[in-house]
Symmetry: C2
Subunit: 398 residues, 2 copies
């Protein structure tokens, strides 16, 4: 027995009843002899309400102030959860990001964890307390409250586990990692285990269950992550180091993402500097550019397409408006990215050929294709999404 | 022109519309050349909602966690108000209690300000920013978030003004200090000016407009406090150092308080130690004991009565339950305290005689009477309240 980090997301702490239920789950683990750290998100709809009020005040609210207001969400949940432990007769203490020593850096609303000064957490654990930590938030070197952006609470949980050198359980509203999103493909199989690398591809490719940043930290410090349901007691999925047995399947999963835009910039004068400037400007604005494809120059001009999160539309339009010259820009949002992921692809050729064949046989045309060592991704028209998911899942036995 | 502190209470920041209105008022002062610090409370009903959720979790929630959850209320208001300034084109920055350097000590939910490390506030003012500070909260030496209890935001505002050596304007839902609460006596006169000492008596005696702690700080550092309406532009009341002119009226105001209990402990064996133990125990539990009266011993036994805030009923019952011996205890809550305050009473005799006469002529009997240098207080049956207020206000020309 040792230290164990549990993380519960927004829907699991949606009501005071649910918060009490979480306290009981954690107490059961503590009774087994574990020292417990619990990371929680804001209660269900709280964040939406705070964003709504901010938008009533300002069209584009200052991001430092956004962080300040959003961080109150977790502060409320940790206080309530800590009270619940105390009510059940267990000593507990609630810590905000800055109290838990979570030091961050970067632009507001998208901070990254720099380090965790875990002295307080360790001391409180030694005193026998359940330590309840606010996910998603930290403090920068200026003493400003920061937030970690999407999936920030997972990142907080895994980072604390990494610092304490203990396992991390992520309890969520799905009961594990599936080969394909079960909402898209009912017959999808739940995976008992998946490697960090595959999960990172799945996550960064939009599987949505966990953010890649959290997995990356788990991978770097070799912290086993267990993803399971916060409600049911059915077995979840272990995310851990790659292991020989996993290689049996060449393809582990399918990842599907709709929350993207595809931007095509055409008629760019062929000049390395022009393309570099474009992506530099996007980087300065913290736009998370994903798939990039570029055609060979024709008559001295090139076309570039890239995908990016829909949330960044406003910023992308601004950057595109600043581009010099007579380039033409089109932004499409009826786009789906579909990715096939498997660590076995590293040593197996022929997967791409098989995929192109499946798409062709089903009459699905694609706009872009990119590959990594363990994945192949396509952008397709959103109308073809269901057909593509079904065809690929069936053929690849996912 | 110099620095000016404005404070706006909970009802003045109740909606995003109202927050925008406050921003405009503050901007008007800034445009006159003032460097502005704005202290705000939590939005109207927020605190009630947070208390309600806490009560759903625990009957008697841990006070450290209560402070943590309650402090989110002001954190939301400061972020929104800061966004409003920015939206109107003014540079602004929102600071929580700990960010503003407000160091506190004492028991949770009832902390006191130890000191303010005003470096950040001063630096941001130098940069031309409107500095928006969360009222009611601070941080203790352990790094825990604390709250200042009733009237805490006023205390924050006046303490910051004291530290910066500048005036403090308290904008509230009443348009100044009245000789008598206008809800109790319609003909009550608004005072243009009142001395710190009188206001402290009025406040601690339950006038409700401002807490005595805030006035005490104003008095100690000689900071002029202006109390006025946050909505109307009618003149308010200055609270300032005593000045010869003020002495014209012997009696300045009447203060009425219903939120009290009267506890009578009878049949105490006459022994100095017994009475001391009783009040020591109440002090340990932070009960704010107010009027104390004790009868001379009869047959070796004495009776003691005291008043205390109704909020402390739970704690008082606990302490009383712990008392040893065969004492009898009665707790009455249909009690009103009514106090006559005036700095002129210091040099004028005969006021008490006049007051006893007014009460007698109107058939109002009282339970306790206590006096200070500038006030006389009575506890009466709540049913006699209206009659007493009317009689005293009329006779004393308030």
């Amino acid at each position: 027995m040792g230290i164990l980090v549990h993380k519960y997301g927004g829907t699991s702490v949606g009501t005071t009843e649910k918060i009490k239920r979480i306290a009981k789950r954690v107490i059961a683990e503590k009774e087994k002899g574990n020292d417990m750290v619990v990371v929680v998100s804001a209660m269900g709809k709280t964040t939406d309400h705070l964003v709504e009020m901010s938008k009533e005040i300002a069209i584009n609210p200052n991001k430092r102030e956004m962080d300040l207001i959003l961080s109150t969400g977790e502060q409320v949940s940790i206080a309530l959860l800590s009270m619940a432990f105390q009510e059940f007769g267990y000593d507990a203490i609630a810590l905000t990001g800055f109290q838990a020593g979570i030091k961050t850096y970067g632009p507001h609303t998208k901070n990254k964890i720099l380090d965790i000064d875990d002295e307080k957490i360790k001391n409180y654990l030694k005193e026998g307390k359940v330590v309840v930590v606010a996910g998603f938030q930290g403090v920068n070197e200026n003493g400003d409250i920061t937030t970690l952006g999407r999936g920030g609470s997972d990142t907080t949980a895994v980072a604390i586990a990494a610092k304490l050198g203990c396992p991390c359980h992520i309890y969520t509203d799905v009961d594990g990692i599936y080969s394909v999103d079960p909402r898209l493909y009912k017959e999808a199989k739940k995976l008992d285990v998946i490697s960090y690398e595959e999960m990172m591809e799945m996550a960064s490719l939009g599987a949505g269950v966990m953010e890649p940043r959290a997995i990356e930290i788990g991978c770097k410090y070799n912290i086993p992550i267990y993803v399971a349901s916060s409600i049911n007691d059915v077995g979840g999925t272990y995310i851990k180091e790659y292991d020989e047995k996993m290689e049996a399947n060449i393809v582990t999963g399918l990842s599907v993402c709709d929350d993207i835009l595809m931007v095509t910039v055409s008629h760019i004068l062929y000049n390395l500097d022009h393309v570099a400037t474009l992506f530099e400007k996007l980087a300065i604005e913290n736009v998370n550019v994903d798939m990039i494809s570029q055609t060979a120059p024709v008559d001295g001009y090139i076309n570039v397409s890239f995908t990016a999160p829909k949330d960044d539309l406003f910023v992308i339009e601004k950057v595109m408006g600043d581009l010099e010259g007579r380039v033409e820009i089109s932004i499409e949002d009826e786009i789906t990215k579909i990715s096939v992921v498997g660590i076995g692809m590293r040593n197996q050729s022929g997967v791409s050929g098989r995929l192109f064949r499946i798409l062709a046989d089903n009459g699905i045309s694609f706009r872009q294709v990119t590959t990594s060592e363990i994945s192949i991704s396509y952008t397709i028209d959103k109308k073809d999404k269901e057909k593509a998911v079904r065809a690929l899942s069936n053929e690849l036995n996912l």
